[in-house]
């Protein structure tokens, strides 16, 4: 069966030129984390916290609170109140107020130190059922606000490039996560591949790996790709990312293909 691509969306040329930027994660030590604890309002409790260095994570906390930083990615994750201590059944606060609370918290935290765009508001949804699976009680235990960034016109996409703040049922910040590597040195701009070129490369790559049949392209975006919280990344590079799915089979699948947007790095603007 021949490979057939059906595009739900076509990639757009957001930028014709973009730079490859050098990333540098600042050194992580106890002082860094202690400063964060203070800004999270945990300073008075942190004397009783235990500390641990395991693999690349520096973690501190007690049985109710965990704050952890990954020394390779600089990624941060924190849980400030256990989920079982949520005082109410639902988050009832308006989205605009949730955004205000989240931005205020990140301002106090002092990171990420760049303009934030609210990407979406998610909710942690719980549902109980009877033994036979019939639905009983729904609830929303937190609101998770996801903020992202744009670098030189291009959105930062992928598992990184986000700051998430979780707000509990009483408008308290209860947790969060940040994967947002600072740019240390800005590179010179280079001409980027066109969307058509990226699609041709996508076709070639899929054909070379033996993929055939009908593939739906759900997302096709130009952006800077940032990796996840466990990974070291030295450069922020422009790319095209394609989210690919099969549909209607006994089993379906979803893949992501990332194509470098840099075609001729010797041509600078």
């Amino acid at each position: 069966m021949a490979l057939s691509l059906t595009f739900d969306e076509m990639p757009e040329m957001v930028a014709e030129w973009a730079a490859i930027h050098e990333l540098r994660v600042p050194p992580i030590d106890r002082r860094t984390v202690a400063g964060l604890l203070d800004r999270m309002g945990l300073g008075d409790r942190s004397g009783g916290f235990t500390w641990e260095k395991h693999l690349s994570w520096l973690t501190t906390g007690d049985d109710r609170t965990t704050v952890a930083i990954h020394e390779l990615s600089g990624g941060l994750r924190y849980r400030l109140r256990p989920l079982q201590d949520e005082p109410e059944r639902d988050v009832a606060t308006a989205p605009s107020r949730l955004e205000e609370i989240a931005r205020g918290f990140l301002d106090r935290l002092g990171r990420p130190n760049e303009p934030l765009a609210l990407e979406r508001i998610t909710y942690l949804r719980a549902q109980t059922t009877a033994r036979d699976g019939s639905l009983l009680t729904p609830s929303t235990l937190d609101a998770g606000l996801i903020f992202t960034r744009t670098v030189d016109e291009l959105p930062v996409i992928g598992p990184g490039g986000l700051a998430m703040v979780k707000i509990g049922t009483d408008d308290t910040v209860v947790g969060g996560r940040e994967i947002w590597r600072p740019i240390a040195r800005r590179g010179a701009k280079v001409r980027l591949r066109t969307p058509d070129e990226s699609i041709e490369l996508l076709r070639s790559r899929l054909a070379a790996s033996g993929v055939d049949g009908e593939i739906h392209v759900r997302k096709a975006r130009q952006g800077y790709g940032e990796l996840g919280i466990e990974e070291e990344q030295k450069y922020l590079e422009p790319c095209y990312a394609f989210l690919l799915e099969t549909v209607g089979g006994l089993v379906d699948s979803k893949k992501v293909e990332v194509i470098s947007a840099v075609s001729a790095p010797t041509t600078t603007a």
Binding site: Q84, R131, G133, P159, L243, G248, V256
Partner: protein
């Protein structure tokens, strides 16, 4: 840090299909390897790893899963493969749901929550025959890292026909009959990515689970991806509605709630983020 009970761990994954004709996956091995490695780094015991054609439906079968290599010989299992939830409308507008997942084994290509016929439809839809009995032996937690493994209605679905079929689904309807000692299942609603960008979720979840963080929240944090549209789900059981919700919010390897076998289960609860 919390005192954590040491667990035995099992991993099952298939990337290459030579017998059973499914599309190749690229990262199932990374998902399981990452989870197992993270658990081992905290002193947990990697008791079983079965990959490619050595992973068998027999490892998950109700009558065979306590044999060597079976999922009910370990406490914490991670399965990464293809799969999905399907449904059929029954008289009275009730729906029967089942989940199936793929292997590339001489023992068979597919296993499911209930007995299916050759067309992968329920053999006896009015009286579905459970083909998995999770937790009758040692199993307490299982990650089902495949598409639509814990489907919640039409959440994270685009295809019209799939939406029609899955509209009434929920993880308890699909998996409830397979709970017999297992505490929690971890999976996805909608498709789950097989991608380099998200291949760390096994390791990230393993690190948090292994050191005693709350299991459900750890999975939801580490397997969620806003860009890739991965929506993780966790299903837990309890004697009552309240108990199942409490288990979901708080159970960890540092604080393990009681094991419940089939007749003792009175309710389920599931948690997801979208």
């Amino acid at each position: 840090m919390a005192r954590v009970a040491q667990m035995s761990v099992g991993g099952y994954w298939i990337n290459h299909y030579k017998i059973c004709g499914q599309a190749q996956t690229d990262y199932c091995g990374s998902l399981v390897g990452g989870f197992a490695g993270a658990m081992k780094a905290r002193g947990h015991n990697i008791a079983v790893i079965r990959s490619e054609d050595a992973a068998s439906p027999r490892h998950w079968g109700a009558w065979t899963d306590k044999q060597p290599g079976g999922v009910d010989t370990v406490e914490f299992a991670f399965l990464a493969t293809h799969g999905g939830t399907h449904g059929v409308e029954m008289p009275g507008s009730k729906w029967l749901y089942w989940a199936l997942f793929t292997f590339d084994s001489k023992d068979g290509c597919i296993w499911a929550t209930i007995q299916l016929d050759g067309q992968q439809r329920p053999m006896t839809p009015r009286t579905p025959n459970p083909f998995m009995r999770l937790g009758e032996g040692r199993l307490r937690w299982a990650v089902l890292d495949f598409c639509r493994s814990l489907q919640v209605g039409v959440e994270n679905e685009r295809d019209v026909e799939t939406k029609r079929q899955l509209a009434e689904s929920n993880p308890a309807l699909t998996w409830g009959r397979c709970f017999d000692g297992v505490h929690m299942l971890f999976g996805f609603t909608g498709l789950a990515s097989d991608a380099g960008w998200t291949a760390q979720r096994g390791a990230s979840f393993g690190q948090r689970a292994a050191k005693g963080e709350a299991l459900a929240e750890s999975w939801l944090d580490e397997a969620y991806s806003y860009w890739v549209d991965d929506i993780p789900v966790v299903l837990a059981c309890g004697r009552s509605e309240k108990e199942s919700a409490e288990r979901l919010k708080s159970e960890s390897l540092a604080g393990i709630a009681p094991t419940l076998h089939g007749p003792d289960i009175g309710a389920f609860a599931y948690l997801s983020r979208w």
